[in-house]
Symmetry: C2
Subunit: 544 residues, 2 copies
């Protein structure tokens, strides 16, 4: 059984990236001076000996363990409440055992046993859920087993003709792309969790990648999926498209382990894009940036990057500090030059008062073509894009979750929430979010900071993504966090926005999700669950 | 109640387009000389007095009728078996009554009554199903009511900011676009049935439009849907995107009336494209055309038209008669010139031996810009594209279903079937289809003609569309047709192709569909149906 020892038990990412004293002092100084927060404490770092409750089960399988460290590591995802509890050494909801099968063929017996013994099974990929997707207390069950898929990490087959690959669910982004790179291919899907999250997790949660338009959700890359359910396998046919009935892939996409565990799938892959163009546009007024962004996407241009950062977000990411909003625009193409598309997008920006420095173009006809097909450490192979604002942004994008570790360790409440809404409703929604979440932060914490960016944009609406920071009282962080999160969810719901664009539902968004979907559809989903999971063992409490 | 008197009762389209004697003689001559079929008869045209069985129900609603002509007109769709039976005046499966509500609010009472009385309800839009989607005998029911939605034909609301419109289910293509055109917008979705089929029917059957890539299925245009089910409304939230659970829109898309009747939805609309480029490429060898087509779509170019016609298809459509295959390539854009994209596609064609005449470009910077935003009679507003091969193709595309009427009237068996399959499997599938369907036609009819085109293409595979013609024996057409259709479906299934890319499942493809999807998924869909339609009244026998 592989070890997770290289990873932080309580925080995001690698153990050797847990915050150092100097990083903590530096960030403490920044939140105190730049955000004006009251003096923050340097909290005691977690000790090395996690305490978990006694295990209630003893699964009769060689691939299962009740080791306390393994159980602690499978207790939470990586949301703020998870980090806080892990930081304080609270592992009460730890699963009773961890299963880490070495072959998908070992899973049916586990599900059979769990169904018979009334043991809940919680699929676990990268454990990067920020919505309580892998945390399961299930008091009415005989126990809980966390089913870790990460030994199932192979690319099993590549169809070069159709540009598709059959991959196992437990492969992380880098594992998947390293295997594909040997054949000159990539799965160009880069969620922020890319380094740790798994293909199966992406499918189960409808993960959003870093593309702003067109190929945004993993949904767009999936040709077929196989899941093991308690009543047997559910494997869809590999097809480029179909018009036959409600799409079975779309049923497993977003299923969040509630019907079964995803074990593999066929995905659409491609060579590395040869052409790229990008520019960073400054707007004095955020709403001018919104209007320009809408115009670009409604012209049916398809930028790979089209991230609009409000002044707070630009400041937080150290990209601008003068009250400007920034639009990060990038185009890429396998085939032909992208400069024309960028120019068309920039013309829209100019119409709305945007300003930019020289655009940057990369490709066979430009200097600076990096060539090659390999993935780099941050996963997207874009080693030619490491300079300038775009490079700083990408670095900030990958580093941001690490900063959460540090913030938790200095008593700062930090969370993000995201949604999608039609353009007509966005201005009112945005104003209400700023007002309501701001008020909740002030009430709970005496102060607060809120920033917004668009992570994805569609012809009919943006996907705004909010980051909030507030000074927390160590020991009562979750009591302070809950009303703030509630204010955010209630506001999104009141304006008809979705409970989540790409963070998934899990347990944290479940109430909002149930308000969002029609009652009759929820009933129908529950009837499907009863059919596929008659004993209700699959991730109880998530989604449904 | 509107009358359908202007429409043919038995055949495709308008009554005044039923085949004339000279059209029949002309086509008879053509199939005898060009296809080498034995001498075809001029069958007696249908008489005007359809005989339908006695009605078994008397629905207590002002919007219902048991008029024999109305019942005859709601008996069938427009597939070959439908045309043949209508032509011969066989209306045994006629519904017992036709409901044509004038408001969606009248539907819940109808469904309640039908549930109580055990009367089957069959949603009916344009009645253009070619898969038995609206034909329901339901012997175990107390009766059958055809629920015609065509009075619900309004565009209810337009959101210009988000470029979306709320439309009722019963609007046909021209009705919908005429209302949108008043606001300078279009729903650019043009299935071959466009003139008669309805928005609700498109959603229920996951209709495919004339775009070859990207915005192909109606699925891509739908923001939200509302359906009435026997247990109440199922209305999804209007969202540009979401990552919350299995997508409820995708559950209604392809539902084929089996869970409820679609009454309205929000769709993404857009202004008329300002730029177009097109060319027709000739290939001596079909497989060179296949390779070029694959290269174009795998370069992630997004042609609006990318139809590859094999030599038989080119001949049938009178576009080429020398054994060439043709690739009809077209690009369109709201925003910038399309010439560059076309040139890049043509470069791929050249690499595979393709040849073409001068490409044609339309747009603000070219002569011949047609301007305007109105939809024309054939629905796609492309009145600037009526010349050359492309124009002939479009005319042929719209006229083809009328030719079916004429063929039926001269004893020619005519059918089409379509699928989608990954590129790696297409060559073997294509060979097997030609062999097996050819053999079945020879066995049943002594001769046969089969042609193929790609209607849609994806990076991972094409959607091939086959047309078959064979000399039929009047009176036994369906006995001859069934084994031929079976050979087609069995071959598609054997090679892992889908039962349908855009013709839907209905009753004709149901067995194939049940082999295509996992058993556990079929069980799950059935459990959803029991939840939403406890008495099983909704379109029994279709899909599930």
């Amino acid at each position: 059984m592989s070890s997770d020892a290289g990873l932080s038990r309580w925080g995001w990412g690698h153990a050797d990236r847990e915050p150092t004293e100097s990083e903590r002092l530096d960030l403490k100084r920044q939140v105190e001076t730049r955000l004006g927060f009251p003096e923050r404490p340097l909290l005691s770092m977690p000790d090395d000996d996690p305490e978990v409750p006694e295990s209630r089960v003893d699964p009769p399988f060689h691939f299962c363990t009740t080791d306390p460290d393994a159980r602690a590591r499978h207790t939470y995802g990586k949301g703020y409440p998870d980090l806080v509890r892990g930081f304080h050494g609270e592992y009460g909801p730890a699963p009773d055992a961890v299963a880490r099968p070495e072959a998908a063929s070992e899973i049916p017996d586990l599900l059979l046993w769990a169904s018979e013994e009334q043991v809940a099974v919680v699929p676990f990929g990268g454990g990067t859920s920020v919505v309580g997707g892998v945390e399961c207390t299930a008091p009415r069950y005989a126990g809980v087993v966390s089913l870790d898929t990460r030994e199932l990490d192979a690319v099993l087959e590549i169809d070069h003709t159709s540009r598709a690959a059959r991959v196992q669910a437990g492969a992380t982004g880098p594992e998947l792309n390293a295997q594909l790179a040997e054949e000159g291919l990539q799965l160009r899907h880069y969620p922020q969790s890319y380094e740790f999250s798994t293909f199966g997790g992406w499918v189960a949660t409808r993960a959003g990648g870093h593309f702003a338009t067109r190929y945004t959700h993993i949904d767009d890359f999936v040709e077929s999926v196989r899941a093991e359910t308690p009543v047997g396998p559910l494997e869809t046919r590999r097809l480029p498209a179909s018009g036959a009935g409600p799409d079975p892939n779309r049923f497993l996409l977003g299923s969040e382990g509630a019907f079964g565990v995803i074990t593999e799938g066929w995905v659409r892959v491609q060579p590395r894009p040869r052409h790229r163009s990008r520019a960073t546009v400054r707007f004095d007024d955020f709403w001018d940036g919104v209007a320009a962004t809408r115009e670009v996407v409604q012209a049916r241009l398809s930028p790979a990057n089209c991230r609009l950062l409000d002044p707070s977000e630009a400041m937080l990411n150290e990209l601008a500090d003068d009250g400007s909003s920034l639009l990060l625009l990038g185009f890429e193409s396998l085939d032909g030059p992208t400069a024309g598309d960028l120019e068309r997008a920039l013309a829209s920006c100019a119409d709305h008062g945007g300003e930019w420095d020289d655009p940057i173009h990369r490709g066979p006809s430009h200097e600076g073509d990096a060539g090659g097909t390999g993935a780099t450490a941050d996963g997207d192979g874009d080693d030619d894009e490491r300079s300038g604002t775009e490079g700083e942004w990408r670095s900030s994008f990958v580093e941001a979750p690490y900063r959460f570790n540090t913030l938790v360790s200095i008593g700062v409440l930090v969370d993000t929430f995201e949604t999608a809404v039609t353009w007509d409703r966005f201005p009112d929604l945005h104003e209400a979010v700023r007002e309501n979440v701001g008020a909740a932060m002030r009430e709970q914490c005496g102060a607060g900071f809120l920033s917004c960016r668009f992570t994805h944009v569609y012809p009919d609406g943006p996907a705004p993504y909010y980051t909030l920071l507030a000074p927390a009282e160590p020991g009562t962080e979750l009591e302070q966090w809950r009303p703030i999160k509630q204010a955010a969810s209630d506001t999104l719901d009141a304006f008809g926005a979705t409970s989540t664009h790409h963070h998934a539902v899990g347990r944290v968004h479940r109430d909002h999700y149930h308000r969002e979907i029609p009652d009759s559809y929820l009933d129908a989903l529950r009837s499907m669950k009863r059919t596929l999971d008659p004993e209700g063992i699959m991730n109880p409490g998530a989604l449904l």
